[in-house]
């Protein structure tokens, strides 16, 4: 156990250290600038639009922020979490890592933590800049209200990073080739389509629970649709139930990932 923790922390340190180069920093900054950039363009366009058009855009500001930040957060998770094993096999470094006591689990957990840190950092920067822009226009209510929403959204995105990183890391241990494609398929097919189905099965998705937490903590964020929405999905359960569901998914997928990574016989040599 001690080895896993020490090894995982060493992996986080090593991975973050080797990420501190100009290309990676620039790509991360650019990625986190996408949501505020698009939001600024939307608000700028809305401010110049005549009549009700501006109001229509402003009514969707919070939803737009959540959508854009979620998009870059998930994109960074796909880039960081899914190649958890494939990256080591391609770099031919797996044989060195697997040769350490508890090295497989330590590497898996270390890379998982790294992807959580990176994806949340990107979401945090994007969210903060979006809040600043929206708050400048007064689109998120009063100043205090805007930053209250920001703090709740930070918490939701932290939970999203923790949960989705675990799921995508597990996918990375199961699918060596095209792990990223499978991960993207999971996010689109399972987390997007299935979570919006008006059936009990949607409770199996992480995004359903995060969405309901959003409703509970932020208030309703889409105009004129709350009644219809609750007719289809019902009222949200207590917050602890949704948090618990996300925690269970995280723990379960991490355990499966650890089990697979320890038991699977990964081959990284062409030599016999």
């Amino acid at each position: 156990m001690k080895n896993w923790i020490m090894g995982a922390l060493a992996t986080v340190r090593f991975e973050l250290h080797r990420s501190f180069n100009i290309q990676r920093i620039v790509s991360m900054v650019l990625l986190s600038l996408v949501p505020p950039g698009i939001l600024w363009l939307l608000l700028f366009g809305a401010s110049r639009a005549p009549g009700n058009a501006a109001d229509n855009v402003l009514a969707y500001v919070l939803f737009t922020i959540i959508f854009l930040v979620a998009l870059v957060c998930l994109l960074s998770l796909l880039l960081w979490a899914t190649p958890v094993v494939a990256g080591e096999l391609e770099g031919k470094t797996w044989a060195f890592i697997a040769m350490r006591p508890g090295g497989r689990i330590a590497n898996f957990l270390g890379k998982y933590l790294t992807s959580v840190i990176v994806s949340f950092a990107i979401a945090f920067i994007g969210l903060t800049l979006c809040t600043l822009i929206a708050n400048y226009n007064g689109s998120l209510g009063t100043d205090a209200e805007a930053w209250r929403k920001w703090s709740r959204l930070c918490l939701i995105f932290l939970m999203a990073s923790i949960a989705y990183s675990a799921v995508l890391s597990m996918i990375g241990t199961l699918f060596i080739k095209r792990a990223m494609v499978v991960g993207a398929g999971f996010l689109i097919g399972w987390e997007t389509i299935l979570s919006t189905l008006p059936a009990i099965v949607n409770r199996l998705t992480v995004s359903y629970h995060l969405r309901r937490l959003g409703e509970l903590w932020l208030g309703w964020f889409l105009p004129d649709s709350k009644i219809e929405y609750e007719m289809i999905y019902g009222p949200p359960d207590p917050a602890w139930l949704h948090v618990g569901a996300v925690a269970i998914v995280t723990a379960a997928t991490l355990l499966i990932g650890c089990y697979v990574v320890v038991n699977r016989q990964y081959i990284s040599s062409e030599d016999g």
Binding site: R13, R18, I97, R104, S269, D271
Partner: protein, 315 residues
Amino acid sequence: MIKLDKVTKLYKTVIGVNEISLDLQPGTYGLLGPNGSGKTTLINLILGQLNPTLGSVELFGKNPFKRSGLLRQVGHCPALEISYPRVTSLQWVTYMVQMHGFGYAAAKKRAGEALERVKLTHVVNRPMSEYSLGMRQRAKLAQAIAHDPQLLILDEPFNGLDPVGRFEMTEFLKDWGANGKSLILASHILHEVEAVQPSFLLIYGGRLMASGSPEEVRRILANSPNTLVIKSPQVAKLASLLSQRCALGSINFTADDEMEVETLSANEVYRALLEIAAKEGVPINELNSTDESLQSLFATLMKIHRGELQKGAIL
């Protein structure tokens, strides 16, 4: 130390190793076999990275598969070429030592000492992507020895090393064995392994064909010539000096700057080449050993195995 009982490993329908039984006591061993013969599979089975399809493996008295705690006592240097852009050897080796449960400061100290031992101190803060093949090979060795293991397993450690590097590696491995630690050295080049004076394990087609001391293997090799390919801008002068210093079967000039030398003692030729380069100043750009000596050895062993020849001394 290592015990294999009728171990077979199948990759779907392909046989990696075939019914290998072994009982190795602490010591120095040379695992010899041509490319694709099953050396790496055998090493991965010993290290618990692969689970045998049939049979059982024991490392220090325990099944190594899923028991990675055993790996504290083992250092492994795979034949794989690592690619970590922008990572220095000190960072990488420190990370590898940390994965053994050492704190950062202790790991960095051990990494520094190991890199000093493999003579990389002057470049420890340079990215490994800028290293030559031989320097990367040394860095790989450093990560294998930094945690002070009891058993060192090296897969093709001489790859990419220049003659001086090969000599230094040989001396290092001899020291390792002399200090009472165990060593398994896998290679497809006989003279490289021979220089460390190990007991031999000869593997071919996934089968352990023979095992024995260097004398026993040499007896088989008595009539098997070794061929070396040497590149030098002064190849004619080199040939002349070389023939004065050691007995050569034949010299064949294959290009303006290249010759093939056939000899019964490759080690003698290596020593002579070092002397010529040092004393006569003749540059040697490249030295390659062909597999022919090993091929002839295995050809002999296969004949014995098939019953075409009488059992030799080492079986």
